[in-house]
């Protein structure tokens, strides 16, 4: 508890630096390439095309979902996944990547995952507005349900930032952990109902179990805004489970912080 207050205080005290560093992280990701910012869009476009091609043309299982073309259903869920997977992989070695902030100057370590998360989130915002545009172009202008999009975005941001704090603390102590996470990303992707709809599973208990997965909850939440047209309070249990899991993750992250904070400079330095 004491640590949580301290971490929040550090965030307030360093809020300017956090935003500056988020900005510089963002610039750094795309600078140095001739096409620069275009890569923020080209990369996901290629990935989406491949998924769409494999499923709709290749496997021919890309049937329309809730009367929406499979392509639209796909992008509504895969775009949030891009942010989540970014936070799973590069979010896990943020502290290692920014080790100079830990070993060379006085800087609150707990804010490092936050500014990296903000930087990735900015790209997500751009991609999400493109998604809204694509839906519109296909003849599906935004409905009232889009109002809950910021709600799911904030949940996703909070969850991924806490995750990144926990994971980057551990991975700065041991590279094994970072590798473990990286090898799990593909599994998470295929098990979280990003390419297929968890709703279509017939086995009741399995569906419930899969719905406990926070990634599934988030991806499903984004689809609620675009496709399912469901309000978040219509699925209160799912939201409750997500909040509980996030809370448990927060407690584990704080515990890890308490245990490792003072050792990290010695290990990285």
């Amino acid at each position: 508890m004491k640590n949580l207050i301290k971490i929040i205080q550090e965030h307030i005290e360093y809020k300017q630096q956090i935003f500056k560093l988020a900005k510089s992280d963002l610039i750094k990701t795309y600078r140095g390439a001739a096409l620069g910012w275009a890569w923020a869009i080209i990369k996901p476009t290629v990935t989406i095309f491949v998924y769409w091609f494999a499923f709709e043309i290749g496997i021919r299982s890309g049937k329309p979902v809730s009367n929406f073309p499979y392509f639209l259903w796909l992008i509504a869920g895969v775009v949030p996944w891009f942010y989540i997977s970014d936070m799973l992989t590069s979010g896990t070695d943020t502290i290692r990547r920014y080790s100079y902030l830990v070993t060379k100057m006085k800087f609150p370590v707990a804010t490092i995952p936050t500014f990296v998360s903000i930087s990735k989130f900015m790209v997500h915002l751009i991609l999400m507005s493109i998604v809204i545009g694509i839906f519109w172009a296909f003849g599906y202008p935004p409905t009232l349900y889009i109002l809950q999009l910021p709600f799911y975005m904030i949940l996703m941001f909070i969850f991924c930032t806490i995750w990144s704090l926990f994971a980057s603390l551990l991975s700065s102590m041991s590279k094994d952990f970072g590798n473990l996470v990286k090898s799990m990303v593909t599994a998470v992707f295929w098990l979280s109902g990003i390419m297929w709809s968890v709703e279509s599973i017939q086995i009741g208990w399995l569906k419930k179990l899969l719905m406990l997965n926070p990634v599934t909850f988030l991806v499903n939440g984004f689809r609620n805004c675009f496709i399912n047209h469901t309000w978040f309070w219509q699925q209160p249990k799912r939201l409750l489970y997500f909040v509980i899991i996030t809370f448990i993750l927060l407690i584990i992250a704080l515990w890890t912080y308490r245990k490792l904070r003072k050792d990290i400079p010695d290990v990285l330095g």
């Binding site: 300017q16 630096q17 500056k20 560093l21 510089s24 610039i27 750094k28 600078r31 140095g32 100079y100 902030l101 830990v102 070993t103 060379k104 100057m105 006085k106 800087f107 551990l170 102590m173 041991s174 590279k175 094994d176 952990f177 245990k259 490792l260 003072k262 050792d263 400079p265 010695d266 290990v267 330095g269």
Partner: protein, 242 residues
């Protein structure tokens, strides 16, 4: 009697490094007790006080614990036992080129580093020209730092750190930057800010001559302990003996 204005205070500070056989063991040890490791006592029960405006030289052979002391003053690493109090903005010339982002230009790095040290944008703007002039890299300032030579990087790093108006300046043999002329310029700049702005200096060096130039007080370290603390001339003698 005037109240003593103490800026750095070490109170029975001990720093232990734990040496593990592997990364895995280190990770486990954070959560499970009883994992075996070797102990390295880098700093052993050290106490001292430094007042505002003092310049102190810290002598010692390699591995005596000087760098660990500096790291603890800059609040980068934490003591295992004991307490440390530091009052004032610390500017450390530890590894001059470390805080730079190679993808950014020199100018952007000035801003980034200034912001990280807690300066406002308009404050940095005021200092910007001074920093560039001092580093003598005017024509390269808008090029990415990755294209700089190591000398240029070091000059820029030095220039930023001494020009951001530090209250406590920590110098770790950084005065050996660049050529003869630049070295002299650095020395006189450090001398100037100590005199003018009442900056506290903590100076780590192997060269007694340059220490005597700035410092009146000297501390000698051996095996993690401070074996002498007093006037600089005596400290230099003790350091030569050990």
């Amino acid at each position: 009697m005037k109240e003593k204005d103490i800026v750095i205070k070490f109170d029975h500070v001990t720093k232990l490094y734990k040496l593990f056989k592997s990364d895995k063991k280190r990770l486990l040890s954070a959560f499970i007790k009883g994992i075996k490791y070797q102990e390295k006592r880098a700093v052993n029960d050290v106490s001292f006080e430094i007042e505002r405006g003092e310049s102190v030289a810290l002598f010692g052979r390699n591995g005596a614990g000087k760098s660990t002391i500096l790291k603890m003053v800059t609040n980068v690493c934490f003591p295992t036992e004991g307490e440390i109090t530091v009052n004032g903005r610390v500017s450390a010339l530890l590894e001059l080129t470390s805080g730079f982002d190679p993808e950014f230009t020199g100018r952007e790095n000035i801003y980034l580093k200034g912001q990280l040290l807690g300066l406002k944008d308009n404050e940095i703007k005021e200092l910007e020209q001074e920093i560039i002039d001092f580093a003598e890299i005017a024509e390269y300032i808008d090029q990415p730092v990755r294209t700089y030579s190591s000398g240029m990087k070091a000059r820029l790093g030095f220039s930023i750190n001494v020009n951001i108006r530090p209250e406590i300046l920590i110098v770790d043999e950084a005065l050996s930057v660049g050529d003869e002329n630049f070295r002299k310029k650095c020395s006189s700049k450090v001398g100037e800010i100590i005199q003018k702005d009442n900056v506290t200096l903590l100076f780590v060096t192997h060269s007694p001559a340059s220490a005597a130039e700035f410092c009146k007080r000297g501390m000698v370290m051996k095996n993690g302990k401070i074996t002498f603390d007093g006037p600089i001339e005596e400290a230099i003698e003790k350091y030569r003996e050990c």
